[in-house]
């Protein structure tokens, strides 16, 4: 049978099943394939907050979404075009996210009586017309695989486990992708476990063949290559990118990397990755709590390491006192906060952007700290790296903000080499006779740094206010005012290293969208779409939130209306209002989910209609 081929620009696919069905791996492999054939890809895993919820329940569904296509994807995709579903529950929970007319490829063996009961279906939705809004292809994967693998004398459980590769085979056929990359991967991973290797390869091929032969599959798709810059690529999560950014900074700066951390969702993977980098000299204290984590990092910084601490909201709340110490000590420190939905324990696995206030204002006393926010998974690498550069150059703690969405989602990353990365600017004191711990570099106001082990530079400092230059404890009134002002000025001076903000779209006019952090992708897609449709719009995305780019005020004043969508109740908006005395239109989503491009688009259309 000849299949029709359709060329499509982008598509959103979701692999969903029970927690034990291996959907995370399936999605990951599919995403890699998409990247390797030259598309852009953006993914997001979506798994239950329970470690291993009861099988086949609604809350036990684990899914992996892949959005790929021939242009920059930016988000994980708004609505699902194709759903691969291993059981009844995994269709049910995903229905709200399916595009009308979406294709559901369902494993019918996951729709038995007990599956249906656990998914709270009264009758079989594959048969009773429940899915009539969609195109459903239902396949009894385990029976097909039983046949395929009968020579291997496997147990039914093992045969059942090949479902995911069968599914992947279908997916590759459907999007006209090759199998060899995955077969190669299986070889490197299971090459020695010959049975697993063999059964999965067969499943992959069987799925592919099945789709090709089945009359139910009438179309297949081709997604043209995206215009990707040449080079080596990999898919990477924000958390792994952040970990790599820190190691790269360590190598480039020549300072050993030190991490003082305490596990917390969704930041823990940074700790996991760094724990594996012993070959790179990474020193880690998995501390007894977040306070010890940051306090030990301050110690390591005092002793001359590139010191970092990583956490999420509740942990950041515990680091507040220590951050003040880092400020008054004027020691370099990179603090990565992977934001999640609060307050308190809140919704630990869900992203939010609601720690901005805490990062900006959360210290007793006057204690300003620079803040950079990553805008995508890849950017977590650069934000961490840049954070380290600024921390060392200005002798200051620096916040790097990420969130649960960036942390776990992936996109292809054009991997740089260490050589290509920018250099570090900092130095240790050289002349003991000229040394005073709070003598400053006039350009950066960074104080002179000397560390234990350096002969002749012994000094005694701490968290009490100290005299400028000498660092000797004093309660002199004017000195305290001076030091408070210097600490503020130092952070303000970082603006000289902050690139000017760039306006996309109209350079002046009615409506300026300002984004920060992970809102980038959704705004960018909505913005591009509306601009393509002819709307006049402008967009500035902020990476540096403290200090703001030097030209931000000027930019803001070129527009009549400022619109800031953010994953909180308007924190950046508040700060912009305070700094620039301009009223901000906000769009505040606190639902434990990132914005979709569609949401932003609709809000923008409303604003455009309303006019000024």
């Amino acid at each position: 049978m000849e299949k029709r081929i359709e060329i499509i620009e982008e598509v959103t696919v979701r692999f969903a099943g029970d927690s034990g069905d291996g959907m995370q791996m399936t999605g990951t492999l599919f995403a890699k394939n998409c990247g390797a054939v030259g598309d852009d890809v953006n993914t997001f895993p979506d798994y239950p907050s329970e470690i291993r919820p009861p099988a086949d329940t609604l809350y036990g569904v684990s899914a992996y979404q892949v959005h790929f296509g021939s242009k920059k994807m930016n988000t994980m995709g708004d609505k699902i075009d194709v759903l691969f579903a291993m059981n009844a529950a995994s269709v049910k929970v995903n229905i709200p996210y399916l595009r009308k007319g979406a294709l559901i490829i369902a494993n019918s063996s996951g729709f038995g009586p007990s599956n249906l009961k656990l998914a709270k279906y009264d009758s079989n939705p594959l048969e009773d017309g429940s899915y009539s809004d969609f195109n459903v292809i239902s396949i009894d994967i385990p029976s097909i695989m039983k046949e395929e693998l009968k020579d291997l004398s496997l147990q039914m459980k093992q045969i059942d486990r090949t479902k995911n590769f069968f599914t992947l085979g279908i997916a590759f056929w459907l999007f006209s992708e090759p199998l060899d990359i995955t077969i190669q991967w299986l070889k490197s991973k299971f090459g020695k476990k010959i049975e697993i290797f063999e059964s999965n390869v067969r499943a992959l091929k069987a799925g592919y063949r099945f789709a090709e032969q089945s009359p139910e599959f009438k179309y297949r798709y081709e997604v043209p290559k995206a215009n990707m810059k040449p080079g080596y690529y990999r898919n990477i999560t924000g958390n792994e990118a952040a970990a790599l950014g820190l190691v790269a900074a360590s190598k480039k700066s020549g300072l050993p990397l030190y991490l003082g951390s305490y596990p917390i969702t969704p930041a823990t993977e940074i700790l996991h990755h760094l724990s594996g980098y012993k070959q790179y000299g990474v020193k880690i204290l998995q501390a007894e709590d977040e306070i010890a984590g940051i306090a030990s990092a301050i110690g390591a910084s005092f002793a001359g390491n590139l010191a970092t601490t990583t956490t999420s909201g509740p942990g950041l709340s515990l680091k507040v006192e220590s951050l003040g110490l880092a400020v008054i000590m004027e020691l370099p420190l990179v603090v990565i906060d992977v934001q999640r939905a609060g307050p308190s324990t809140g919704m630990p696995t869900k992203p939010e952007q609601s720690d901005l206030f805490l990062a900006m204002f959360g210290r007793h006393g006057e204690a300003p700290i620079p803040i950079i926010a990553a805008r995508s998974a890849n950017d977590c690498f650069y934000a961490a790296y840049e954070g380290a550069q600024i921390a060392l150059k200005y002798m200051t703690p620096v916040f790097v903000l990420s969130d649960g969405y960036l942390a776990q989602g992936t996109e292809p990353w054009l991997v740089p080499t260490l050589d290509e990365l920018p250099d570090f600017e900092f130095e240790f004191a050289k002349d003991p006779n000229d040394y005073k711990p709070y003598k400053r570099n006039p350009e950066t106001l960074a104080r002179m740094w000397s560390i234990p082990g350096m002969k002749g530079f012994e000094h005694q400092i701490g968290g009490l206010e100290k005299e400028n230059i000498t660092g000797i404890v004093t309660q002199d009134p004017k000195n305290h005012q001076l030091m408070t002002e210097i600490r503020a000025e130092k952070v303000a001076k970082i603006v000289q290293d902050v690139p000017d903000a760039i306006i996309e779209g109209e350079q002046s006019g009615d409506l300026l969208i300002i984004g920060w952090g992970s809102t980038y992708g959704a705004i960018k897609n909505a913005f591009d779409k509306l601009r393509n449709e002819g709307h006049k719009l402008s967009f500035v995305h902020l990476r540096w939130l403290n200090p703001f780019p030097a030209n931000l005020g000027e930019i803001i004043n070129k527009f009549d209306r400022i619109f800031i969508p953010e994953g909180n109740m308007g924190q950046l908006g508040f700060i912009i209002q305070a700094k620039f005395l301009r009223s901000v239109l906000g769009y505040h989503k606190v639902q434990g989910k990132p914005f979709t491009a569609l949401e932003i688009e609709q809000e923008l259309i409303k604003l455009l209609k309303e006019g000024k």
């Binding site: 991967w185 690529y233 012993k278 000299g281 390591a300 260490l418």
Partner: protein, 344 residues
């Protein structure tokens, strides 16, 4: 591991206590016990064969925690209760340093209690000097976790109902490898104990009774004053019998797994007494209970001293071993990972 500081090879023998003094005025009250501890540390430091720039003195907040300002080495006066994690970071970052933490009963046992038990558990190679005055002095006299029950203080005008910690017992319960007690009013003994602490590789915990002339003046007299010390204190010495008394006529035996005081002479002779053994944990624990809730003399000296690798040593060794085994990592390879592809 890469260490940006070259190890110095300077002889250090010429330095004296004076070289370890800073020009700053010491601002403790006249008569404060902390002076004595400072003097001992300044005397010991030049004798340890460690270059001055390799010493680091770290403290929290409290009267006692003002210490670093007075010692002319690298000094870090951190936050209340957080000296140990800061010191841990320093030590892990640079294992060549000799890191001393000076803390108080409030700083170290109240707000800093968690770091205390964890630094000990990890056997972090840090010398912890806890200057115990059984009070929060800096904040003008509230009871602390070592204050005796029913003491009247600013925050317990009716008497504190809290039971105190026994710091020696707590340290032993946390897995300590070196535990000792001394007193600021016995400089010779203090100096000895501090030297032993310095020599121990791994975490060293020394509880030092330091009299606060303002808020708890005299509380330790019972055990430290020259009129009482002989009768009420007992000095632990390796392999020596537990003997004390003005006339050295009393001793300690272990009876029914508890220390018991005996009169030497008729029924008991020196040979019946237990010989102290710094490596016996149970003995240390038993002796630690002496004069807490009982009428036994209070023990001073080294309770326990065993060797095991320290955290900073192990973590740095794990790095070196890995590099020796697998070679120093190539960062470009790490960034690219295993699952990359090429777009041409």
């Amino acid at each position: 591991m890469t260490n940006i500081i070259d190890k110095p090879v300077v002889p250090v023998g010429e330095l004296t206590a004076k070289d370890f003094k800073t020009p700053i005025d010491v601002r403790w009250c006249a008569g404060c016990g902390d002076y004595s501890v400072l003097a001992q540390l300044q005397k010991i430091m030049p004798t340890l064969g460690i270059p001055r720039e390799n010493f680091c003195v770290v403290s929290g907040i409290g009267c006692s925690s003002r210490f670093p300002y007075y010692v002319n080495v690298y000094g870090f006066h951190t936050m209340h209760g957080r000296a140990l994690p800061v010191a841990s970071g320093i030590k892990i970052a640079n294992p060549d340093l000799s890191v001393w933490v000076i803390t108080g009963d409030g700083d170290g046992m109240a707000i800093g209690g968690n770091h205390f038990i964890h630094a000990i558990r990890r056997n972090m190679d840090i010398k912890i000097m806890l200057l115990n005055n059984e009070i929060y002095s800096m904040t003008k006299g509230q009871y602390s976790p070592t204050t005796q029950q029913y003491s009247k203080t600013k925050s317990s005008p009716f008497g504190a109902v809290d039971y105190p910690f026994n710091p020696i017992a707590l340290a032993l319960g946390s897995g300590a490898t070196f535990v000792a007690r001394s007193s600021a009013s016995n400089p010779k003994h203090l100096s000895y104990v501090m030297q032993r602490a310095a020599q121990h590789k791994g975490v060293s915990f020394v509880e030092i009774y330091s009299n606060c002339v303002i808020f708890t003046d005299g509380i330790f007299d019972k055990w430290t004053d020259k009129h009482f010390v002989d009768e009420n204190a007992i000095f632990l010495e390796e392999n020596k019998p537990l003997i004390y008394g003005l006339n050295r006529d009393k001793g300690i035996v272990i009876d029914n797994l508890a220390p018991m005081q005996v009169q030497l002479g008729e029924k008991y002779s020196e040979n019946d007494l237990i010989l102290y053994n710094e490596k016996n944990l149970a003995l240390a624990q038993m002796i630690a209970t002496m004069s807490y809730d009982n009428e036994l003399p209070r023990p001073f000296g080294v309770f326990y001293d065993v060797e095991k690798p320290s955290y900073d040593e192990l973590i740095n060794k794990q790095i070196t071993d890995t590099i020796n085994r697998m070679g120093p990592g190539n960062i470009d390879d790490l960034m690219r990972g295993d699952d990359y592809w090429e777009i041409k």
